[in-house]
């Protein structure tokens, strides 16, 4: 099958990727654009390690073909910190030990940012429910919850 060229805006820059129609967005990001911070942890859309933003909303980039997001704005974990300054959620993950092996972390951070975008002052239960699209095997989630609470506090202050 032929290759197609897809134009995207990734982390604020216009980029072109040449892909097969079946190329998953996560593979285009990782292998063509070198944005390897987005990970693949499953093949059935459960784990959320591949979470990126498309037009400001969290999505699982392993369940999208690159051709589907033609012209869209993509944000990956590499684009979250601005001008060398960590996003409050990133800061929360660092301060509260919200990660261990780090593999789920980029997706978890993206999902957490999305959660706070929708609900800036979530309860603990809302945080736990809001992260139901992301699996972490290391942390038991408690420090992740703390990290999101840290970010919510910081944004409020």
């Amino acid at each position: 099958m032929g290759q197609v060229t897809v134009t995207l805006n990734v982390n604020g820059r216009n980029r072109k990727v040449t892909v097969e129609p079946r190329t998953l967005l996560v593979h285009a990001l990782r292998e063509q654009l070198g944005l390897t911070g987005t990970h693949v942890g499953c093949d059935t859309s459960q784990c959320g390690a591949c979470t990126v933003f498309v037009n400001g909303q969290s999505v699982k980039s392993c369940t999208l073909f690159a051709v589907q997001v033609e012209g869209d704005a993509i944000t990956t974990i590499e684009g979250v910190a601005k001008d060398g300054e960590l996003h409050p959620v990133q800061e929360g993950f660092w301060e509260e030990h919200g990660l261990q092996c780090g593999y789920c972390t980029p997706g978890m951070i993206m999902a957490s940012i999305d959660l706070l975008n929708t609900n800036p002052q979530p309860t603990e239960a809302e945080i736990r429910d809001g992260l139901c699209g992301n699996l972490c095997r290391c942390t038991g989630y408690q420090h992740i919850v703390n990290a999101v609470q840290y970010a919510a506090e910081k944004v409020k202050a």
Binding site: T36, H39, I77, L99, Q100, G102, R137, G140
Partner: protein, 796 residues
Amino acid sequence: MTSPTLPKLIGARIKRREDPRLIQGRGTYVDDIKLAGMLHMAFKRSDIAHGRIVSIDTSAAEAMEGVECVLTGAQLAEFLGPMPILTPFPAPPHYAVATDTVRYAGEPVAVVVATDRYVARDAADAIQVEFDPLPVVVDPDRALAGDPAVLHPDLTNILGQTGSNIALYVPAGTGFDPVAGTVDNSAIDAAFANAEVVISQRMWNQRLVPNAMEPRGVVAHWEPGKDTLTVWSSTQNPHTARNTFCGLLGLGQDQVRVIAPEVGGGFGAKINIYGEDYVACAVSRRLGLPVKWIEDRSEAFVATTHGRDIVADLEIAAKRDGTILGLRVKLIADIGAYEMLLTALVPTLTNGMLSGVYDIPAIRSELYEVFTNKTPTDAYRGAGRPEGIYFVERGIDMLARELGMDPGELRRKNFIKPDKFPFMTQAGNQYDSGNYEAALDLALKNANWEGLKRERDAARAEGRVVGLGMSFYVEICGIGGWEHASVTVHADGRITATTGTSPHGQGHETTFSTLLSGQFGVPADRITIVHGDTAMVKAGNGTLGSRSQVSGGTAIMNAGEKVKGRMAEFAAFMLGAEAEAKADELEFVDGRIQLAGTPSIGKTFEEVAAFAYMGAGNAAGAGMGYPEGGAGLTDEAFWEPAGATFPFGCHIAMVEVDRDTGELAVKKLVAIDDCGTVVNPLIVEGQVHGGLAQGIGQALLEGAVYDEDGQLLTGSFMDYAMPRASDLPRFELDKTTTVSPHTPLGTKGIGEAGTIGSTPCIVNAAVDALSPFGVTHLDMPLRPELLWRIIQGGAQ
């Protein structure tokens, strides 16, 4: 050499230095590695659980554009022998790719090497395999009887039997003489003869899928002309990987470099060195090109070793006052189709844990390991210890219920008392130290045990299904032999240390730099910890069995102490004229090396470091003297604990079961963990949290379920339930501190603790909740339907 001093930063909540790269997507995992000319592998796997390979048609795959080569197991076996294992017992030959018979669904039968990951997958799917099916063994009881088939008919096992599915038989306990191989049952028989009450229960510690979030992966790069092999592997122990690669490929340990880059979790399953790793190395060497293989999650479910899966027929003999007289157990471990690196060892650790935290005067266990047509088992977080503790703690809980005693008081009555340590249990382990009553008391206090009982009783009176559970655990850490470290103070005063432990989330860079920072009196940000690279780290045994702080941390401090001693000699030499300073009177504080009590007499750390690298020749040229022993500040240490350490703890849980649906919610979980001296509480809490979640996952959600054809029914996250944030309560942690005599800092290890204690705690709580319905035991996972049936009064 001066004796190790306690670094002053111990006990501080220091945030991790690993995190800035990981929270910005800048970590490098195996799949992030790209080399020029790199080829991609994909495996064709058996879709049946047991059968002979009649034919493999690779022609369609080979015809595909971009396919470099296709190799069947038989073709690979021409240049790749059976895989090595590290256990000393008889084991069947196991080729990386099946040569004539497949013994579990998912076993590789051929490999495709192609220019692109997508093409490799297409080609693997195009391979046609014809099998002659054989009867499938899934039930371990039937496996024991060789029914309906024998997986390895040519194997002569440890009992001298051929034509058996018994891989290993190991008795243990009172009256077992491991040298003579004899078993004297008089003590255990007497215990049961004198018993006033006997508890007897079959229990199953189910099969689990480890599911590190990063699936496995390998990049192998053979460089022709240099004749060196570099391998990036998602492994917990790069040196073991290197050694086994060398063994199987016939290469020297100087020719092979194994790098464990960022590793996305392991949980024991990345201790093993896998067939795919060997194939990648062999294929790269054959083709002279780098080769990558990355496991899909669907593959991981069948291709990465599983954990646990052991049945116990447990009996406890006791007096009516709660005194335990004896414990007898028959264990059957379903190890799957083959023996991997440590497969046979893991269940033997269960044998050793059967005394729990209790002074049990007579123990008899008999362990059978059997082959079945399933994915092989190997270490999974806790590796043998959670199984043993689960059986004991369930048994104790049943005894408390039978006797109408408070589960805490029954435990207290049978604890090994603090003054009896070191204590040799009848199960054969010598515990280093312990104060179990202190942990129990703190747990009872923190949980408000009596208050919880009233809360439970009040809830029951309202018709709610609420239960309270307690468990006590002890585990073995510091096993896995020696560990190696090196420490170098550079001429600019910065420090590089290497460790043979190999982290995959445990934060060694933070913890070990904290230790050295305290030791040398310099900020941690001037220290780099190097790990996971056999070319940079001379030797190591990896990160497993909660050994890294105990063995790796001590090795680092010992190497550091040697360098510090040498550095003190340089400083003393520099200061000698003005202060007649002696090396052993110098302290390393705040970036200075100075005379204790007279801080004005000293040099900066950098000045001393620079002088150490000046060398006698340059010093002489500058008209200066130089101390004996020559230039440089670098040294190393091997360290092995004199004995294993035994952390312990007490967990208490409250659960509520939905009367209508059987869904169980954990309402409260209090964990007291005693891992000796805590270096970094933040990291220790993280380890406990993760362990608790995995233990609760086993109790409530997880389970590898096979059908009678040997097909894994829970083969994806669609059916295998992993704990999510919303499945868990906020854990309430606390600690007691009982130092280990085996480690200079008194550390004991914490990596697996939470996993061990939480599982029986939750099941005990669930049994308590359902006890009004006549239940005394439940097998895991506690699926809603199981609990609902009990509430309905139906059969379990």
